[in-house]
């Protein structure tokens, strides 16, 4: 839930901490298991809302009790202090080695919002006297569930927010993490209004978590390799790009040797990754087999198709997107490659309203179109292509230098072959 606005370098409050989830299930009845698990979640929810919940600012002596009227220690800080003042209490490396590192820090600050890291803790003490402990033993063959819920929550604060405001906001966000996604829909609607966002983009779904710059993508795929490219400047031209995040899928990944036949599958995987990363679906990117099975399921192919090395085209891509992701797509047909040069308006419109990657198949090749640079007046056009035929490692430098992800001219297409384009439509939900 972080809208990074490059013009406003605000501060982000981030709280992280584990919550212990432990419960005993003494029945295999789904309803009763539900009850116990719900109750355990409710307990955690009330823990986070209790006066024992404490937030400590990392690398500083500042400690905040957000549910106790936002009580703060040390005494110099009050709930009405500006939240940004917390920065002054945080001990950084620069404080010890003056001068040497300060210049480096200044140049970094302008590019990203600064983050105040907080740890979620519980106060284990209370004012007594309280009653001595009781030991309860239950003998019942059952299942014991124990896990840790990694709480991770972020709010963005402005320079006029007091600690009281900021932390009340943060606690609301934190307690909402203990509620299911579906229950949050009304909350998301409110947020959409608050931020004046377009009504049909799922900005606030869980999967759209802000990617902190110092975290790595654990699955090993490159994300948005096109972002490092310099986009072409055409006379009176504009650049229209895919909106959001996708991962680059290409030959030989996942230990699948699909060299020579899998290009459309890979383009389809790239498209699926877009839907997953924007939070439209929770389903993982399908494998070649899963794609083939989907086509058999819809009756498009015979059973023997699964496990084969047969090519697929835009129609199949459309069918799979519909079957596995419930995403509809438009098909655009050009009878010869040279016609593509005149499709600037349609492609530009697609990236403006849908913003999804396009799969294009024709001749013997399939590619993914991630954007167009198009001039309405001159008709000049360039296509941002993501090529699934790459067989190397996830090396951003190589991929962009050698043009596996790059801007191509109209002569990139086979001028005489016919092409089908699959334009996935974005579901209009939040």
């Amino acid at each position: 839930m972080v809208v990074t606005d490059s013009s406003d370098s605000g501060t982000i409050l981030r709280v992280r901490g584990p919550l212990e989830f432990r419960c005993q299930l003494d029945s295999t009845d789904a309803l009763l298991m539900h009850k116990v698990i719900s109750r355990t979640f409710a307990t955690l929810h009330s823990q986070v809302k209790s006066e024992s919940c404490v937030l400590t600012v990392c690398e500083s002596p500042v400690i905040i009790w957000p549910n106790k009227g936002v009580y703060v220690t040390p005494e110099e800080i009050t709930p009405n202090t500006l939240c940004e003042d917390i920065h002054q209490w945080i001990q950084t490396d620069e404080q010890e080695s003056a001068g040497k590192r300060s210049s480096k820090k200044k140049s970094k600050k302008s590019s990203a919002a600064s983050v105040i890291n907080l740890s979620l803790m519980m106060e284990a003490t209370k004012t007594g006297p309280l009653s001595a402990p009781i030991l309860r033993r239950t003998l019942q063959k059952s299942h014991f569930l124990s896990t840790t819920l990694p709480m991770d929550c972020v709010v963005r604060i402005t320079c006029s927010d007091t600690i009281k405001d900021a932390f009340e906001c943060l606690m609301e966000a934190l307690t909402h993490q203990l509620l299911p996604d579906s229950q949050l829909e009304t909350h998301r609607k409110e947020l959409h209004q608050q931020f004046e966002l377009q009504g049909d983009w799922p900005y606030f779904r869980r999967a759209n978590a802000f990617h902190f710059p110092n975290e790595l993508y654990k699955d090993g795929y490159l994300r948005n390799p096109h972002m490092v490219l310099t986009h072409p400047t055409l006379d009176n031209g504009k650049v229209y790009l895919v909106q959001g995040i996708y991962s680059y899928h290409h030959y030989m990944q996942d230990h699948v040797d699909d060299n020579g036949w899998g290009c459309a599958y890979r383009s389809l995987q790239t498209i699926c990754s877009w839907f997953q990363q924007q939070g439209y679906v929770e389903r993982a990117v399908p494998t070649h087999r899963e794609i083939q099975k989907a086509l058999v399921d819809v009756g498009d192919k015979q059973g023997s198709f699964v496990g084969s090395r047969q090519w697929i085209g835009s129609i199949e891509v459309q069918a799979v997107l519909n079957q596995l992701l419930e995403v509809t797509s438009k098909i655009m047909f050009v009878s010869q490659g040279s016609e593509l040069a005149s499709k600037g308006r349609e492609l530009a419109n697609h990236f403006l309203t849908e913003g999804t990657p396009i799969m294009i198949g024709g001749g013997v090749l399939a590619h993914t179109i991630l954007g167009v640079a198009w001039s309405e007046t001159t008709g000049q056009i360039r296509y941002l292509i993501l090529d699934p035929h790459y067989t190397g490692a996830e090396n951003l430098q190589v991929i962009t230098d050698k043009g596996w992800c790059g801007w191509k001219g109209p002569d990139f297409w086979d001028q005489t072959a016919y092409y089908n384009l699959c334009l996935p439509q974005r579901p209009k939900v939040i």
Binding site: L25, S27, L135, R137, K141, P150
Partner: protein, 429 residues
């Protein structure tokens, strides 16, 4: 340079009394607090007499050690068994071996029961005091118990009045909330002991690494504890402890169990600090250690009771059993105010049993009125409440609103529950 022991005047009087009272050798324990510069002995207690020791001259090493173990359970934070004394008619050199054996045995037994890890700045010297009955002369030596080959080093033994009069005290009321699964095939008290101990060890680490606030503030590591520099001014401080819940390995998300044990309630924990410019981190260390040991001691005491009690041996059809842990009672050391020792009172015991134990173990004559029972309230047996809890049989109607915290997978086997719970937080996008 040997160690320096500053000893409360009253201890001299006590040792004199012991010299006069009995023939033969008398052993006992010296109790107090160590610090890097010097050690403070605040009180002493003789080994409770048994039939054998009264009869002859022999020293019952096992009983001395066992006595030490029980006494150390009765000492709040900041007070510990510093060493052993022996009163005999013989020369000091004759008792050296015995004293050495006793000191090591006592230290080994006590440290084997502690759940916390020793710290770098812990003092590891223990005192061995020989008192000559006829001359009343004392010979004080120390042994480094960390080194099994250590030899006796001479130390200073000095009496002073009002040694503890300006000592500070920090205390807190610590909540305990644990739920431990019992393995499928073994739900007997012995195994319960094992499971609980493991859980307590983990909890001890949590407490150890928790943030400690004294009077609402997080003090810097090297800051001085705001203690009493002026004599005869009592200083008491309240602490708060903040802990981070434990991280758990995903591999153990779901397991079969034969039952569970839960421990809920609160304990009063306190630690005393010498007045010789103590550091804040010493206060924190001593308080945390007391918190951990008071819980561990009580659990141990309860389990010892269960193992020996006859009720337990009968095969009870009861699925749920509840036991109240004893609550903590404090007794002031008259000659060493404001310090207190403590004992634990089970709900079925009377206060006079506490005073009897104080007499036997610590040789303290206390009246019921002297005892401080206000720090903790006895645990309330809520068995009737357990019966009222909705059990499997009473749930008839389905819930009107399905609260699916974990998606659709809930309806099927337990195995899916576990994986679904971890999928809820999609951080590996």
């Amino acid at each position: 340079m040997g160690r320096s022991y500053i000893v409360e005047d009253a201890v001299e009087g006590y040792l004199s009394e012991l010299c006069e009272q009995r023939a033969g050798s008398v052993t006992g324990l010296l109790l107090g607090q160590s610090s890097p510069q010097r050690d403070f002995v605040v009180t002493a207690t003789r080994t409770p007499p048994t039939e054998e020791t009264l009869a002859g001259n022999s020293v019952d090493k096992e009983w001395v050690t066992e006595h030490a173990r029980q006494v150390s359970r009765m000492l709040p934070g900041g007070l510990s068994v510093l060493g052993v004394f022996i009163i005999t008619d013989t020369e000091a050199k004759d008792t050296l071996t015995t004293l050495r054996q006793l000191v090591f045995a006592v230290e080994n037994l006590i440290s084997s029961e502690t759940l916390w890890s020793p710290a770098e700045d812990d003092v590891t010297d223990c005192v061995a005091l020989h008192v000559n009955r006829k001359t009343r002369k004392t010979f004080c030596r120390t042994f480094d118990v960390k080194d099994p080959k250590s030899t006796a080093k001479p130390a200073d033994w000095k009496y002073q009045s009002g040694v503890c009069s300006s000592w500070g005290m920090v205390s807190c009321c610590l909540l305990v909330d644990m739920l431990v699964p019992l393995p499928d095939k073994r739900t007997d008290p012995e195994y319960m002991d094992k499971c609980l101990k493991e859980e307590l060890r983990g909890w001890a680490q949590q407490v150890e690494s928790g943030v400690c606030l004294i009077d609402g503030k997080k003090l810097a590591e090297d800051a001085e504890f705001p203690g009493g520099q002026k004599r005869n001014v009592r200083q008491t401080y309240t602490a708060q402890i903040l802990i981070t819940p434990r991280e758990q390995r995903l591999a153990e998300v779901e397991r079969r169990c034969g039952g569970s044990v839960s421990l809920t309630g609160a304990v009063h924990s306190r630690a005393y600090l010498h007045s010789n410019k103590p550091k804040a981190r010493l206060a924190e260390k001593l308080l945390k250690r007391d918190a951990v040991s008071t819980v561990a001691t009580r659990v141990q005491m309860l389990l010892e009771e269960l193992l020996t009690s006859e009720e337990e041996n009968k095969s009870s059809g009861k699925h749920k059993r509840e036991h109240c842990l004893p609550h903590r009672v404090f007794c002031p050391l008259k000659a060493s105010r404001p310090l207190c020792v403590c004992d634990y009172q089970f709900s079925d015991e009377s206060v006079c049993e506490v005073t009897e134990r104080l007499k036997e173990m610590l040789d303290i004559d206390a009246d019921e009125g002297d005892l401080d029972t206000r720090q903790e309230s006895p645990a309330e047996n809520t068995e009737r409440e357990i019966a009222a809890e909705p059990t499997m049989e009473t749930v008839v109607a389905p819930e009107p609103k399905r609260n699916t915290f974990i998606g659709v997978a809930m309806a099927t086997a337990v195995a899916l529950l576990a994986s679904a719970a971890s999928m809820l937080y999609l951080y590996d996008v």
